[in-house]
């Protein structure tokens, strides 16, 4: 909905954003090409998880926090497991690490396929949504659904279920999948790898607005490989830090117009920062498999990428990487080790982080001597990206104020979807204002 003010000013307001996870609204006011106000309003009912976790046992966060999000439960499970194990001074085996990475590949495939095909591609191909797009491009939509299904299957086999996996526990898993079980999904993943390469070719042909942003990028970087399930924090200005420093380096600030906290790095001294595929890729493109690197190069990506609209290309490259990694792990799998290591409770504070499909997800827990949670902190990727999303909108509306209002509004919604925001993960506050138009 748009309003034109008598004094020549305009208000762009979208009461319920479509094709994003959760419920949010966008409010932009501008006048004579000058933006006077930009607010991404997040009004999905607030989440009480951090308070809810206090008083629970140290073994419970993977199951409880997986419920925060239907689209990235594995991210919550992995970040919480690392954090609890850190607090208890426990390391898991290489085989458990590999299985965590494999499960996480399933979530990346599922989430990226959904976003690329059903949520984001319609913006580039000029459709209101996937349903309209499917009428003209059925094979494209079928490919997206097939990819998503391959991710679902991988999550079912490793995690026990595709939506909220039940096989994850602090210290590892309840049971290891057998070689036969994993081999059985190999053909689906081979097909998914082919579909992913086709996805890169498809999205590389889209038209992208000329738009680059200078944000500090923040992502994980593991000892080897592309960041998925673990790593230390790195940034483009070299302000890297171990995960256990996140609570002092990243500060969460409440802003009045949103139920989600906004995050700042080093008190805002480094300007805005953002997380997600562009940050991961820019900081770790040297870590991609040769196959994914070649696909990226063929799609016209350099070593880094600063155009948020091209995030769909990076997601497609990450689909290739996730399928390739899943096949690599399955091929090396023996499943002979213990499914978990003991994690005896002890008093302490622990930190964990992993790369959710939409960016780094941090968890922190304080335990007492009996393992009862005294304090919990969850910093989801969408909270970290919200200031960048608003800054993108501010810059775009300023640059494209000559577009007609319908086109401008569409481009703003498209710009929000560049970040694949998971609004349901990001909300924290009780003072809820419901605004619908």
């Amino acid at each position: 909905m748009t309003h034109k003010h008598k004094d020549g000013g305009h208000v762009l307001h979208v009461g319920t954003l479509a094709r994003v996870e959760g419920e949010g609204a966008m409010h932009i006011a501008y006048r004579d090409g000058e933006v006077t106000d930009v607010q991404l309003r997040i009004y999905e009912p607030p989440r009480f998880y951090e308070a809810f976790l206090r008083g629970r046992a140290h073994t419970e966060p993977p199951d409880i926090t997986a419920r925060i999000c239907g689209i990235c439960p594995v991210a919550y499970q992995m970040s919480s497991c690392w954090a609890i194990e850190d607090a208890c001074g426990v390391s898991v085996t290489d085989e458990i690490r590999a299985l965590r990475r494999l499960l996480y590949c399933g979530e990346w495939i599922e989430s990226h396929a959904l976003h690329v095909y059903l949520l984001h591609a319609p913006d580039f191909l000029g459709y209101d949504g996937a349903v309209d797009m499917a009428a003209d491009h059925p094979a494209v939509v079928e490919r997206g659904l097939r990819l998503k299904k391959a991710g679902n299957r991988l999550m079912e086999v490793v995690g026990g279920r595709s939506v909220h996996p039940v096989n994850v526990r602090v210290g590892g898993f309840y049971r290891m999948p057998s070689v036969e079980e994993l081999s059985a999904i190999r053909p689906d993943l081979e097909r998914a790898l082919e579909d992913s390469l086709e996805t890169v070719r498809l999205v590389a042909g889209f038209e992208f607005p000329d738009f680059e942003q200078p944000y500090e990028y923040l992502a994980l970087r593991p000892e080897s490989g592309y960041p998925i399930e673990e790593g230390r924090v790195v940034t483009t200005s070299g302000a890297g830090f171990p995960v256990r420093d996140f609570a002092t380096r990243i500060e969460e600030v409440h802003v009045p117009h949103s139920n989600a906290l906004h995050a700042r790095l080093d008190g805002g001294a480094r300007g805005l920062y953002s997380v997600g595929p562009l940050a991961r890729y820019t900081l770790n493109s040297d870590r991609l498999s040769p196959l994914a690197r070649r696909a990226a190069a063929d799609a016209g990506l350099g070593e880094g990428c600063r155009n948020p609209f091209r995030s769909i290309v990076v997601r497609a490259v990450e689909l290739v990487e996730a399928c390739h990694e899943a096949l690599r792990i399955i091929d090396g799998w023996t499943g002979t080790g213990a499914a978990s290591v003991p994690v005896p409770a002890r008093a302490g504070e622990g930190y964990g982080a992993s790369e959710a499909p939409r960016g780094v997800l941090f968890h922190r827990y304080v335990l007492d001597g009996a393992g009862i949670i005294q304090d919990a902190q969850i910093v989801p990727p969408t909270s970290q990206n919200q200031p960048s999303i608003e800054a993108d909108l501010r810059a775009m509306v300023g640059a494209w104020a000559d577009l007609d209002e319908h086109a401008l509004q569409h481009r703003c919604e498209h710009a929000i979807r560049n970040y694949d925001p998971c609004i349901s993960c990001a909300t924290h506050f009780l003072d809820l204002t419901v605004e619908r138009t």
Binding site: E21, G70, L118, G129, A134, K148, H164
Partner: protein, 171 residues
Amino acid sequence: MTGGPLVVGPLVIGLGSPDRGDDAVGPAVARSVASRLPGVAVVDHEDPTSLLDLWAGHDPVVVVDAVRSGAPAGTVHWLETGPAAAPVSTRAWRHSGHGGTHAVGLAEMVELGRALGRLPARLVVVGIEAEGFDHGAPLTPRVAAAVPVAAARVCDAVTAARREESSDVPR
């Protein structure tokens, strides 16, 4: 359908998250149907995007979900559709649950199925008007009271469809 999957009978799908208050009403109705009608495949599911695979080969298919349209809580909405029926409004029939992939709701998946030629011959969408989605909360009383009502109606519809089938193909 030539080369298509064999039709394997009726399927009832309950959509929704089991621990988000009234969002659990779909699975609750599906379980109630399962207890009354042995031999009918019944699944609980939280993710609407897998519907096209779930219902492949089944006929008739009933999908039960929590909805919010402004009607009194516990109201049972009933919509029969299929390949030849008019499109379902994706605005009017918006999935209101929070546990699943709410960026792509039930109505979108029905219409995606139509666009891709993957709708069951007979599809019934049952919406139960919900009012609360709190974490860990049980069904609210009016929604809980609607479960047996909706389940009985689903059972009647499935039984009638089976009867129709057996009269079409006399043994």
